[in-house]
Structure formats: C-alpha cells, structure tokens
C-alpha cells in the first residue's frame, strides 16, 4: 500500500467505499445540469410569450450545437471528477487497524488510522427507509478515550462490517491487566 506501510504480520482484510446508491445521489445534480439544455426549449414553448426564444436552442445550428457540446463536456467531466473522488475515498480494514482515506478534493488527501486494539465499542446505525432497504449505514468505533471516535458514513452492510471489525479486535489478556 502506498498510503501506509503494513506492519509485520499485518494484512489487508477489506476495502470499503460508500454505498453505490449514495454515489448515484451525488451524480444526480450533474445529470440535472446535463438535461437543462434539452429541457429549456420545451419549457419555453409552453409559455407563448417566450416561445420565440426557443429558436435559440436549435441544436442543428453550429453555434447552439457548439454550446451544447461544451455544456455536456463540462457536465460529463465534473461527473467523472465526482466518480474519481468517490473511488479514492475509502476505508481499509486490516488485521490490526482501520485506515480512513479521505480525498476531499484534488491535492487534498488525509489518511488516518485507528488501531483495533484501542477499540472499546463498535456501533452501527441504519436509519431511514432507503438505507434499510439497501443496507446502507454508519459505523462508529469508540476508543477508551471518549473523545476519539472513528465514524464510517454510508457504508454497505454495516452489520457485516461491524462483525468483521470485532473479529479482528484483539481480546484483552486478563493477566496483563492484573485481574
């Protein structure tokens, strides 16, 4: 892994990204923007005083066609950029830690780790109709220090992920604690 060095004996268990449905909702604004040039002539024709302006959007004319091409090119490129950010944001579960990789925007990347040995509690949260139907939820990993939380938003099948995390959380040795 380029992002972080694996410790001796450590291996990657799972890569997790946000649920695909959340990615589709992120794409929705770009889809609406792309459709605007096709919708405007139809909307203008519905309002008689404005109907004459619909001729501006005759895409068989070179100028309007160039405008449409540029508009769609920018919409597509922005949507593809959103997919790039979606793909580069991920959580990596290893046998020893959870790594949170945040790609906020281009040239802004944050990589943080939480060692499983520090985890005291793992909570899943699935709320809402669509998240319940599609299995989308949040996982909150709490450490002994109450102020440190590790939250994974919008991940698929959070219960399975929680079980997987707990499987790799090392059990405390009673002798080490003196009990």
């Amino acid at each position: 892994m380029k992002e972080f060095e694996l410790e001796p004996g450590e291996h990657v268990v799972l890569h997790v990204r946000k649920h695909w449905f959340l990615f589709l909702t992120e794409l929705l604004p770009y889809a609406i923007i792309a459709v605007i040039p096709f919708a405007i002539p139809n909307l203008l024709s519905l309002a008689p005083p404005m109907a004459s302006y619909a001729d501006i959007f005759n895409y068989h004319e070179p100028l309007a066609r160039a405008g449409l091409g540029v508009w769609l090119l920018m919409s597509w490129t922005a949507a593809w950029g959103a997919f790039t950010r979606y793909f580069l944001n991920e959580w990596v579960l290893t046998s020893q830690r959870i790594v949170n990789i945040k790609q906020r925007r281009f040239f802004s990347r944050e990589v943080s780790s939480l060692f499983l040995s520090r985890i005291q509690d793992v909570t899943t949260d699935v709320s809402g109709v669509i998240p319940s139907l599609l299995g989308i939820g949040n996982i909150k990993a709490q450490t002994a220090a109450e102020d440190i939380e590790f939250v994974m938003h919008g991940i698929p099948r959070p219960e399975q992920m929680r079980d997987l995390i707990l499987k790799y959380v090392p059990e405390e040795d009673p002798q080490a604690t003196g009990i």
């Binding site: 380029k2 769609l72 090119l73 597509w76 490129t77 793909f87 990789i101 040239f107």
Partner: protein, 98 residues
C-alpha cells in the same frame, strides 16, 4: 531605397475576414473566431482537469484495474463531445444527441 511607393498597412487575412463596418468602428474578430477561442479555452481547462484527475488515479488507486476503463471512458466520451461541438459528429453518442 526602393522606388516603390509606400503601401498602406494591410492587416492579416484572419483579421480582415472578421472586420465589418459599424458605428463604433471595425470589429476585430468574427463570431466564428470568438467561438473557436472559447472552445479552445474550454478544451485547455478540460485537459488540465483531466491531467490532474488521471494523476490522482495513477497515484492513489493502488493499481486497481478500474483505472483503465474509468480513464478510457472519460477520454472516449469527452472526445466524442468535443467532436460534436466542433463538427456535429459525436460518433457513438450521435443517437443520443440532436
């Protein structure tokens, strides 16, 4: 010194073709030249954005195979849309565009 009389300054043909008389003076550029200029600026912005995004894909995707279809799809669709803007021929996207 040549014995030829001085000739009046003649602007390049590119400028000449776009000059029309108007009340305020001559227009320097034709509409076509302005459109080409705008398209050029948009394509340069696209190229820089694409370069940055592809750099991030290669640097941070951890050698995932998705990088190749993702980048290829971006180039194919973008070039088709550029061709549509320039010539009206969007190749495989033609059935979806007016």
């Amino acid at each position: 010194m040549t014995d030829q009389p001085l000739q009046p300054f003649a602007p390049p043909a590119f400028f000449e073709s776009g000059m029309y008389g108007s009340a305020l003076g001559n227009r320097l550029f034709s509409t076509g030249a302005v459109v080409i200029g705008i398209l050029l600026v948009v394509f340069i912005i696209w190229a820089v954005y694409t370069l940055v995004a592809v750099y991030h894909w290669f640097k941070y995707s951890n050698a995932s195979w998705i990088i190749f279809p993702a980048v290829a799809a971006h180039f194919f669709i973008s070039f088709a849309l550029m061709a549509y803007a320039l010539s009206g021929n969007a190749f495989f996207l033609m059935s979806y565009l007016p």
